[in-house]
C-alpha cells in the first residue's frame, strides 16, 4: 500500500512538471470547455448545461492519453527496469498510475463545474452523486484502456498512432463532438459499440434528467466490467523492459477487453432505447429560439 502511494505521489509530481502530460489533463480540457461554452453554447446557461456531459467526457477520456504515454516512455527509457529491481509488483505500478490520474483529473472536473456555475451561470448539475461516480469510473476505465494500449505497443510512435485512432473514434462516434442524434443512423449504430457513447449518455442522463445511480445500471455495469477486464489484462501483459516480447496473442487479449461493449452494442442495436433517449435529451434542450429562462 505504501509502495502504491509513494509511486502515485511521484507520478503526480512528474506529471505536473511535464508540459505534455499537463496539456492532456488541464489545458486541452479547458480549451474544450471554453470552446463549447463560449462558442457553441454562446455562454447561455441552458446550452452549456446540455454540453456539460460532452465537456466532462473529454476531460475524463483524455486520461488514457497521458497514462499510456508515460508508461511507454518509462519503459523505452529503461526507467521501468530500475523500478523492477525494487520489490514492486506490476499491480502496484498499475494501481498507482490510476490513483495518480484521479488526483490529476478530478480537480479539472471540479474546476469545469465551478467555471460553468460562475462563468456561465449554470445552476443545476443534476444528480451529482451519479456525476462523480461516473467520472471516477470513467477515469478508471479509460485509464485502464491507456494501460492496455501501453502494454501492446512497443514504441512511442506506435502508441501515438493507436491513441489517435482511439481518440478520434471516441470523440466523433460517441456524441462528444456532434450530438449522437445528429449523426447518420449508420454511425449511431457503430457508436453503440463504444464505451464513450455510454459514458457520455450516462453523464447527460445524470446531469439533464437527474438520473440516480440505480437508473444508470447498464452504463455502470458495462464501465465496471470494462475497467476490470482492462486492468486484469494489462497486469497480465505488463512489460518492464523494452526488449520483453509480447505474447503471441497479446493483441487479441487487448481487443478482448472491449467485449462488454460488443455485447452491449449488439443488444442496444437490437432492442435498446439509448438512441431514442439521447435524441429526446437533445430535442428537449433549449434552442436559440427559446428565450433564456433568466431573461423572463
Amino acid at each position: 500500500m505504501r509502495t502504491i502511494l509513494t509511486l502515485a505521489a511521484v507520478r503526480i509530481r512528474i506529471t505536473l512538471r511535464n508540459k505534455t502530460f499537463l496539456f492532456f489533463s488541464l489545458i486541452m480540457p479547458l480549451a474544450i470547455f471554453f470552446l463549447y461554452g463560449s462558442v457553441f453554447a454562446k455562454g447561455r446557461a441552458e446550452a452549456v448545461s446540455y454540453l456539460m456531459g460532452p465537456i466532462l467526457s473529454f476531460t475524463v477520456m483524455g486520461t488514457f492519453w497521458g497514462l499510456s504515454m508515460q508508461l511507454v516512455t518509462w519503459r523505452e527509457q529503461g526507467i521501468l527496469r530500475r523500478f523492477r529491481l525494487a520489490p514492486i509488483a506490476p499491480s502496484s505500478m498499475i494501481v498507482s498510475s490510476i490513483l495518480a490520474n484521479y488526483l490529476l483529473i478530478l480537480p479539472t472536473v471540479i474546476l469545469e463545474l465551478l467555471l460553468a456555475r460562475f462563468m456561465y451561470h449554470v445552476t443545476a448539475f443534476g444528480n451529482l452523486v451519479s456525476v462523480f461516480t461516473l467520472v471516477i469510473l470513467g477515469i478508471t476505465s479509460f485509464g485502464a484502456m491507456g494501460l492496455v494500449v501501453a502494454s501492446v505497443t512497443n514504441t512511442m510512435q506506435e502508441t501515438q498512432i493507436i491513441n489517435q485512432l482511439l481518440w478520434f473514434a471516441l470523440i466523433f462516434l460517441s456524441g462528444a463532438t456532434v450530438p449522437l442524434a445528429l449523426l447518420p443512423r449508420m454511425v449511431q449504430r457503430i457508436g453503440l459499440f463504444l464505451p464513450a457513447t455510454y459514458f457520455i449518455y450516462g453523464l447527460q442522463r445524470a446531469m439533464l434528467n437527474n438520473a440516480a445511480l440505480q437508473t444508470l445500471g447498464m452504463v455502470l455495469v458495462s464501465l465496471i466490467a470494462w475497467a476490470a477486464l482492462a486492468i486484469f489484462i494489462s497486469s497480465q501483459l505488463f512489460r518492464w523492459e523494452p526488449e520483453a516480447k509480447l505474447p503471441r496473442n497479446a493483441k487479441l487479449w487487448a481487443v478482448a477487453t472491449i467485449l462488454p461493449f460488443i455485447l452491449l452494442g449488439i443488444w442496444e442495436n437490437q432492442n435498446g432505447t439509448l438512441l431514442a433517449t439521447s435524441a429526446r435529451m437533445m430535442s428537449d434542450r433549449p434552442t436559440e429560439n427559446t428565450p433564456p429562462a433568466k431573461g423572463q
Partner: protein, 306 residues
C-alpha cells in the same frame, strides 16, 4: 568453509538464436568483491540479470542469500542492491526525490540524506535527473543501490562510458565499500578494474567461465605468457610479427610493438631473425610480467577489447 552468499551452478540462458550463457558456475563468499571479466557480449549481463531475478534462466541453479530468484523474487529484491547498464530515471525527478522514492519501497532502509552526502550529491539534491552528468548519474545509481542496505551489491559495468577521472572516483567508492566488507559482484570489460577492485575474478568468454581465481593466481597460471615490448628502427607489419614463432598477438602501441608470447625465448629468437631479414634494427626490448589481459589472450587467442 563458510556458506557462499551467492551460488551459481550450470547457468544457461538462451535468446532466440543466441546461446548467451552456457553452463556458468561460480560462488561468492560473504564480504568478497567478485568480478565477471569478459568482452562485450560474453554473457556477463545475462548472468548477472538472471541472478537479480530480472531474467528467467533456461537451466541451472541460482541461490542468493539462500533465495531462488525465480521462486522468491520479492524477498530477493529486498536484500540485494544493483546498478544496471541500460537504465534511467524520469528526467523531471529530483535527486532527493529519487532516493527517497526508492527508500519508500523497502522495509529496512539507510538514511537517504546520508547516502547523498557520502556520494557527493548533497548539493545536487534539488537538481533534476536530466541535469546530472554521467558520473553524477552513476553515483546516484550507486547511492540508490545501497538504500536498502543490501546484503549483496551487483554492479553491471559500473564505469562503462565514463571518462578516466570519473572512473577513478567510482573506483574509490567501490574500494570504500570493499573496506566495509560489503559483498559485491561486478561485471567489467576493463582489466584494471578487475585487477584493482576484485578479490576474485571469473573470466567469461562466449558464455563460459574460462578461468577463475584471484587476479594473482590467474596471472601465475599464465606464467608462460609474457608481454614483450619492442621498439624498432623502422616500422614493421603487425601481421608479420604476429606470425612469428611463439607469438600470439602483436599490436602497435605509441610507436612501440607489443607482442604477447606463449614461449618467450623462441619468440625473441624468431623476432631477431625476422628483423635481420627485413633489414630492421631492434632499438629496445622489454619483457613484462603478464597482466589479466595476457591471461585472456593466452586462453582465447584474442584480445579482451579493441
Amino acid at each position: 568453509m563458510p556458506n557462499p552468499i551467492l551460488l551459481v551452478e550450470n547457468l544457461e540462458k538462451r535468446y532466440d538464436d543466441v546461446h548467451a550463457v552456457r553452463g556458468v558456475s561460480f560462488s561468492v563468499e560473504k564480504g568478497e568483491v567478485f568480478g565477471l571479466l569478459g568482452p562485450n557480449g560474453a554473457g556477463k549481463t545475462s548472468t548477472i540479470e538472471v541472478i537479480e531475478g530480472l531474467r528467467v534462466p533456461d537451466g541451472g541453479r541460482v541461490s542468493v542469500c539462500g533465495l531462488d530468484p525465480q521462486k522468491s523474487p520479492h524477498e530477493l529484491k529486498s536484500v540485494i542492491g544493483a546498478t544496471l547498464q541500460a537504465t534511467s530515471l524520469p528526467d523531471k525527478l529530483r535527486v532527493g526525490e529519487a532516493i527517497r522514492l526508492f527508500a519508500g519501497f523497502y522495509k529496512k532502509t539507510r538514511n537517504p540524506d546520508e547516502l547523498l552526502k557520502r556520494f557527493g550529491l548533497e548539493e545536487k539534491r534539488g537538481s533534476f535527473y536530466s541535469q546530472l552528468s554521467g558520473g553524477q548519474k552513476q553515483r546516484l545509481a550507486l547511492a540508490m543501490a545501497l538504500v536498502n542496505d543490501p546484503k549483496v551489491l551487483f554492479l553491471d559495468e559500473p564505469t562503462a562510458g565514463l571518462d578516466p577521472q570519473v572512473r577513478r572516483e567510482i573506483y574509490t567508492i567501490i574500494e570504500e565499500l570493499k573496506a566495509e566488507k560489503k559483498t559485491i559482484v561486478l561485471t567489467t570489460h576493463y582489466i584494471e578494474e578487475a585487477e584493482k577492485l576484485c578479490d576474485r575474478v571469473a573470466i567469461i568468454d562466449q558464455g563460459k567461465v574460462i578461468a577463475a581465481g584471484t587476479p594473482r593466481e590467474l596471472k601465475q597460471s599464465s606464467a608462460n605468457t609474457t608481454r614483450v615490448e619492442v621498439r624498432l628502427s623502422k616500422p614493421a607489419s603487425n601481421g608479420a610479427l604476429k606470425n612469428l614463432d611463439g607469438v600470439v598477438d602483436a599490436r602497435e602501441l605509441d610507436g612501440a610493438y607489443v607482442l604477447h608470447c606463449q614461449r618467450t625465448a623462441p619468440a625473441i629468437v624468431a623476432l631477431v631473425k625476422h628483423l635481420e631479414a627485413e633489414n630492421n634494427e631492434l632499438v629496445s626490448l622489454e619483457i613484462a610480467t603478464p597482466s589479466l589481459e595476457d591471461v585472456f589472450i593466452e586462453l582465447t587467442g584474442r584480445r579482451l577489447r579493441d
